[in-house]
Symmetry: C2
Subunit: 156 residues, 2 copies
Amino acid sequence: MERAMQDVIKVHCFGCGALNERGLQIKSYWEGDEVVCRWQPQPHHIGYPGILYGGMIASIVDCHCLWTATAHAYRRAGEKMREGDTRHLYVTAALKVNYRKPMPIERPVELRARLVEFAEKKISVACDVLSGGALAADAEVVAVRVPAGPAPATRA
Amino acid sequence: MERAMQDVIKVHCFGCGALNERGLQIKSYWEGDEVVCRWQPQPHHIGYPGILYGGMIASIVDCHCLWTATAHAYRRAGEKMREGDTRHLYVTAALKVNYRKPMPIERPVELRARLVEFAEKKISVACDVLSGGALAADAEVVAVRVPAGPAPATRA
């Protein structure tokens, strides 16, 4: 099986960094033209008792959509992600989540993200959030490219 | 000094629950017509090294805006929040965050939320996110009322 993107380019981010021991450590994979993440919440990640916290949904959506942007940037460039490679970095300019149904805390959630718009400096990504196979939320993220070169805010 | 809203009505939510030992435990207070929260991120709450994680910003905004909705519902009803009182409950229908500037992880963030629209079943709240006194993000939350009566998703 292909390695998760976050196990190739290892970062410190709370949501997606393999190097953040106290983080959520989401994992994203290509599936056709979509980028998919399955994540099991922990019992304390509740909003109301028994129900997954909306902020946690926003968090994993944010990270997963940035990785979707990065994955598309690599694919467009005809390149593969490589360890330590930080040429295609993005940050979130805008995040919007519509919450449709409560998601039981014991169920894994599935994120399915797809490209909406691709420009050199800005990528828009749409993401469905499923729980038990049903659409429970949908989201959109606008990701903007981080200029190349060493910066205080690099991922490495 | 007035008690924080979350220390009057104690809930289990990861973002705002006084009863969630592993949560973020934000605290919200009236200041005039605004509801304000100041929160110190922990060192592992980073997106990029040194920079506060955007998902964490979305999380605290989500909770703080729901408390702002709840606070306005009590104020409109001419009532005060009381321990164990869950008559004015809200959940998030939509969350939108615009990220404008990176926020250094060592600085507290300040959330200032205000009412945009108040209807019986739906409240819109706008929220500014400040870091070092400067606007670093802005957000809008649509909160919908939870029907009264015992429910699996109650806060208590």
